[in-house]
Amino acid sequence: MKFSSIRYLTEQGVENIWKNRMMSFASFCVLLVSLVLVGISILAWQNVSSMIGNVESKNEVIVYLNDNTDQENLNRIEGILRNLPNIASLDFYSKEEAYLALKNRMSDYDVLFESLGDDNPLVDSFRIQIEDISQMSKTISQMESIDGIMNISAPYEFVSFLTQLRTVLTWVMTALIFAMLIVSAVIISNTTKTSVYSRREEIRIMKYVGATNAFIRVPFFIEGMITGFFAGCGALLITWLVYDTVMNILENQATLLNIIGVGSLVTFQQIYLPMTLSYLFGGALIGAAGSAFSTEKYIDA
């Protein structure tokens, strides 16, 4: 194909957008909506997994040491613990700190502590954060074999809650993204099909005067690509607005934010580059591919 032909076909593609503006607008809307749906689903998924990750990192296994463990044993146990796999961090928590914290926490029961006087019945402990909480039981049984340990308190219930929540959310979000992809595929393919269908006569006539399939297809392809590109722009804008709005609402919910962790929210700034690229390229690509595929049927008729 010569350059003049390519230029002509490109111009045709651009012109067709305006000539078939009703159809182009339909494709534009449908593509835009699909991109927004898929985009927001993915963003939601990112945020939710980041939140779960954040909440997970707050879990704590507490290793209580025997009463009156001396410094040497302390160091030995700390060394062994640090060398265990699956340990994210480890803090020493002396019995004095523990006592003060307990007193604070149980301020309703002041009487109780008054009766104790200066006596501190608590023990030293290590507070340990587990890396992969699904491997927690294994790590704990390794800890139990260490000498000089009185007791291990692990947040079994909390961990099982988190793993289950994650399972469910993974299911739900994966299903959501899949559903959105299917939904988008269905509506995009239907819209482009209808758009081409309404021009089947034109396509037939072009074939009668000797146009090759490629010659007929290229303008559709370009038309779809441009429409898709603009749908991508629109989708980007809408996603941005929606995302910003949701983030603003969240920011006013201090307690909630505190629990899920402020840092676990993905800000728009962090992702705007890959997002912009995916939207624009994705839009153009889907638009072009959709048109190209839908012409097939009427081109071979």
């Binding site: 194909m1 003049s4 000539k19 021009r199 006569e201 074939k207 005067v209 000797g210």
Partner: protein, 228 residues
């Protein structure tokens, strides 16, 4: 060159549109095809374009064996044929100019050639002023003339015209046939379907009569035009 050997066409609804037709039109011939409504004239043309396939028999058009022609090669075949359809078949989303130029564009013709050739053929059929009109904005006769211009534009080896004067007044009809004749003089094979006996009588030449799917008559007759 067009050659049909024992060709039959039976449409899916059972209509026998052509019934063992054999026919040969040599390069450079001018043939009128006449026959009653529904006789099978347009069916014959659809065959030559490979718009439909023959139920049986062999067809050769401009050296292409249509029975064995692959889908991919159909555009090449069609580019050797200029055709005026009975129902015009203009692309309604393109202007008159683009409808005609399109035929050149599909063959990758150079832009300067297009820019010279298209106005030239529009002039031949008297439509120079309608270049920017869309088919919807034309009268019946004007559409027909666009269809004729489109068929002429790429200097085809074979020109097929299905009732090209059905919507045109007698004076213009004569001009159109004379145009086709002069194109024929330059070497293009022309096949013109018409039901206007007056035209046939006047111009004469080879006359093929199709009746009920069969060739009832295929002879060369003297035209009255030559006498006047």
């Amino acid at each position: 060159m067009v050659e049909l050997k024992d060709v039959s066409v039976k449409y899916s609804n059972g209509v026998d549109a052509l019934d063992h037709v054999s026919l040969k039109i040599n390069d450079g011939d001018f043939a009128f095809v006449v026959g009653a409504s529904g006789a099978g004239k347009s069916t014959l043309i659809k065959l030559l374009l490979k718009e439909i396939d023959a139920t049986s028999g062999k067809i050769i058009v401009n050296g292409y064996q249509l029975n064995t022609l692959k889908k991919k090669e159909i555009p090449a075949l069609r580019r050797t044929i200029g055709i005026v359809f009975q129902d015009f078949r203009l692309i309604s989303s393109m202007t008159v100019y683009d409808n005609i130029a399109f035929v050149l564009r599909v063959t990758d013709a150079p832009v300067p050639h297009i820019k010279k050739r298209v106005p030239y053929v529009m002039n031949l059929v008297g439509l120079q002023e309608k270049a920017k009109s869309y088919p919807d904005e034309l009268s019946g006769g004007e559409m027909q003339r666009v269809a004729i211009a489109r068929a002429l534009v790429n200097d085809p080896q074979l020109l097929i015209a299905d009732e090209p004067t059905g919507n045109i007044d007698p004076e213009l009809s004569y001009e159109i046939v004379e145009l086709l004749k002069s194109i024929n003089m330059q070497g293009t094979t022309v096949m013109m379907v018409t039901h206007e006996h007056e035209l046939v009588r006047r111009f004469g030449g080879r006359i093929i009569n199709i009746t009920a799917g069969q060739i009832a008559f295929d002879e060369i007759m003297e035209g009255t035009d030559n006498e006047i």
